[in-house]
């Protein structure tokens, strides 16, 4: 079967959904962050794939670059926050940090 755009899209879709699944189910905050990275990667695949197959020029790639940069920044910030949570709560289990609620 010839690899077409759809294949790439399927890969990205699965990656995206796995990412969300990870975010929702993992207890550990760092693992949740990993899930977010998966989502961003999935979108990136989309951008690059679209720009490749749709002949949209290199804009897609550029966007992917931006997103990578942003992902890095976000990861840094998020990790700093996780560390801070660890300092105050002594664990980073997302589901246990629920003192703010109704």
């Amino acid at each position: 079967m010839e690899v077409t755009l759809t294949h790439f899209l399927i890969v990205s879709t699965i990656l995206f959904c796995l990412g969300i699944y990870g975010i929702v189910t993992r207890k550990n905050a760092v693992m949740v962050l990993m899930g977010i990275e998966l989502i961003l990667n999935a979108s990136n695949i989309n951008f690059v794939a679209f720009s490749r197959f749709g002949n949209f020029g290199l804009q897609g790639q550029l966007i992917a670059l931006f997103v990578i940069v942003l992902a890095a920044a976000e990861a840094a910030v998020a990790l700093a926050i996780v560390l801070n949570v660890y300092k105050t709560f002594v664990n980073v289990n997302v589901d246990e940090i629920d003192s703010l609620r109704d």
Partner: protein, 698 residues
């Protein structure tokens, strides 16, 4: 003396008592002798009313004088046009006569009270109230329109409320005042409705204008039924004020008031207002309405009379007697014996006031003892009181030579004639029966009070004849109970000036087809001067009246004598033991003694019913209405944050449904807020799915 002066006299007469009231009320605290002013005012009023009466019956005989001013101007009302409400006075024969009666008795009662009320803590207040009452009564008498009649009607109710409940520290007194006012109001509702009906049709309250319209054929609500019902409605007012069945219950209770008040209000004037009202509207009554009026009157004559037979309270006996006599008058009006009814109103006023004042004198002497079983033998101690009381009793029993005979006999003859003409025989039957009962219980009263041996020695010892101030009115009133004031012929009132000249048949405005056959307008008649459309009784009626007159006289005297004899037999000579008789007829006796259980019945049905309903409504208000609202506004309760909130309020289900729903919404919304961020994300995913599903079709 001209007409405008006369009407000015009327105005002065009307407002004098008001002046007395205001001055006495305001200065009552400061000036202890201010009651003298009130008495003086009444005296002036009396003199003026005498002047007025004389002027009226001499110079201005047959002339109606009225004067009015615009009270309210509604402006140019759409559709109807100008609506203006006038107030004013009307001075005709009956009002002139009536105002004199009112002022005479009022003055005498004022005078009597000077001694009777001595030592009361609210002495001056009492006179002020008497003044207010007299003012109101004068208003009723002198008014030329129905609205003003209604206004003073209510004012009379209030002053009577104040006077009955004068000794308000006694619960029974304040109860009685309240009862009187409320029972009166029931009748007033009818009056009000009649008023409304008439105004609706004619946009005026004035008697004259309304009568004119009706005689031109414009009937209220444009139907014959409307005219009948209007008459009955207005009559309702009379039922209340004149204590007619079924609203008679207030009058006996009203005896809680000071006795002079009973004399003034509950014997002579206020209760007579009802009769006066019917007299005023007599011209527009239809045959149907009259029949109802007669029936009510008959019942009111009969029932209280039976009750009076067994009562032991001196004032209550008089009270029931009053109701009974008023029933007579009403019945008389109902059967068309207009003149006799009004005549009886006047004669009754005198002798009944005399009896009340006499009983006051007795009560005063006995230190507020009212039970006749504790009296007896007072004849010796209080000769003048006894004499006057006796004269009045004879008068009320209808023994010849008294005024009572003249008027009562006329009424009986009227019912008799009515019976012969229309076949309604129960009116004369009741009339004669009641005549006998009246004589019986009156003499029972006299015998038990004045004759025989004193049954309460101690009180008897202290009893003494009253002072001049109290005796004088008795004497005056008893003198007025003789025939001579009314007619030269003691057997025939028609021979007298009062009956023939002063009281005249009214104009009749009811359409021909709605009248009794024997009552006709004399438009075609040549006997009366032209322009006066007074009632002309048909030949048959006159004939019937003449026909029955002899037998009526005989019967009525026989009945009276029979009653008196019976009283003597039972109580004086004790041939028949009253106790044994009572025992034998126990059910009847009890029925009568307990006043036919009217009070109990009314209390059960109306008072308890109303209060029960009101409790129900209050409950409903508190629980249901409030509940529903609390619920739907919801929030009010939402702050009771407990979840077991539902249980607390299950009592009223209706409430909770709405309440819980809206409080629940909030609760559910906040339940979503678990504090777990991953749950949030799952929920977002789900809601995105749902949203996509909802909008996929687009």
């Amino acid at each position: 003396m001209n007409e405008s002066l006369l009407i000015n006299f009327a105005v002065v007469i009307l407002f004098l008592p008001l002046l007395g009231f205001i001055v006495t009320l305001l200065l009552g605290k400061k000036v202890s002798k201010i009651f003298i002013f009130e008495n003086l005012v009444m005296l002036i009023g009396l003199i003026l009313s005498i002047v007025l009466l004389i002027a009226k019956v001499t110079t201005f005989n047959n002339v109606s004088i009225s004067s009015e001013f615009m009270w309210i101007d509604m402006g140019d009302v759409p559709v109807i046009g100008q609506i203006q409400i006038f107030l004013g006075l009307l001075l005709d024969d009956i009002s002139a006569l009536m105002i004199f009666v009112v002022f005479l008795i009022s003055f005498l009662v004022h005078f009597f009270s000077i001694d009777y009320m001595k030592g009361d803590i609210r002495y001056n207040r009492y006179f002020a109230y008497l003044g207010l009452f007299t003012f109101s009564m004068a208003g009723i008498v002198l008014t030329h329109n129905l609205l003003m009649m209604y206004i003073f009607w209510e004012l009379v109710g209030v002053s009577s409320y104040l006077l009955i409940g004068f000794w308000f520290e006694k619960k029974s007194a304040s109860d009685a005042g309240k009862k009187a006012f409320i029972v009166n109001r029931i009748g007033d509702l009818g009056f009000l409705l009649g008023l409304l009906t008439l105004f609706l049709t004619y946009n005026t309250f004035s008697f004259v204008e309304i009568f004119t319209e009706i005689s031109q054929g414009n009937l209220p609500l444009n139907s014959e039924f409307g005219l009948t019902i209007t008459g009955i409605f207005i009559f309702c007012g009379a039922v209340g004020k004149s204590a007619q069945f079924p609203l008679h219950v207030w009058l006996p209770d009203a005896m809680e008031g000071p006795t002079p008040v009973s004399a003034l209000i509950h014997a002579a004037t206020m209760v007579a207002a009802g009769v006066y009202l019917v007299v005023r509207i007599f011209g527009i009554l239809t045959a149907d309405a009259m029949l109802i009026i007669a029936t009510i009157g008959a019942l009111s004559a009969l029932i209280p009379a039976t009750i009076a037979l067994t009562q032991n309270d001196i004032k209550r006996v008089l009270a029931y007697s009053t109701v009974s006599q008023l029933g007579y008058m009403i019945m008389a009006l109902g059967v068309g014996a207009y003149k006799f009814a009004f005549f009886h109103l006047i004669t009754h006023a005198f002798f009944k006031a005399c009896m009340f004042l006499g009983s006051g004198s007795v009560i005063h002497a006995m230190h507020h003892e009212q039970d006749i079983q504790n009296m007896g033998g007072l004849r010796k101690k209080m000769p003048i009181t006894y004499a006057t009381f006796l004269i009045s009793a004879i008068a009320i029993s209808g023994i010849p030579l008294t005024s009572g005979f003249l008027s009562k006999d006329g009424i009986l003859a009227g019912t008799y004639a009515f019976g012969t003409l229309t076949g309604h025989w129960y009116f004369p039957f009741i009339g004669f029966l009641v005549a006998m009962m009246t004589a019986f219980y009156m003499f029972r009263l006299i015998i038990l009070t004045f004759h025989g041996e004193p049954r309460n020695k101690e009180k008897y010892e202290h009893a003494h004849e009253s002072s001049f101030i109290m005796v004088m009115p008795l004497v005056v009133l008893s003198i007025l109970s003789f025939f001579i004031w009314y007619t030269p012929n003691p057997m025939d009132p028609e021979a007298g000036w009062m009956y023939s000249d002063w009281i005249k048949n009214p104009e009749l405005h009811t359409p021909e087809n709605l009248r009794f056959g024997f009552m006709q307008s004399d438009v075609t008649s040549v006997i009366t001067p032209p322009g006066e459309h007074r009632i002309m009784y048909s030949e048959t009626y006159t004939a019937a009246l003449h026909h029955v007159h002899g037998s009526a006289v005989f019967l009525s005297i026989a009945m009276a004598v029979l009653g008196i004899l019976l009283a003597f037999v039972m109580y004086q000579w004790k041939k028949i033991s009253a106790d044994i008789l009572a025992d034998k007829l126990k059910p009847l006796y009890k029925f009568s003694y307990n006043k036919w259980y009217f009070d109990e019945l009314y209390h059960k049905i109306f008072v308890a019913g109303t209060i029960g309903l009101s409790r129900l409504i209050a409950w409903f208000d508190l629980k249901v209405i409030d509940g529903i609202v609390d619920g739907s506004a919801a929030v009010t309760k939402a702050f009771s944050k407990s979840i077991g909130w539902f249980d607390d309020n299950v009592i009223d289900g209706l409430v909770n449904l709405t309440a819980s729903v809206s409080a629940f919404i909030g609760l559910i919304f906040s339940k979503f807020q678990t504090g777990k961020v991953q749950t949030y994300i799952i929920m977002v995913i789900f809601s995105l799915v749902i949203l996509l599903f909802l909008f996929k079709s687009f």
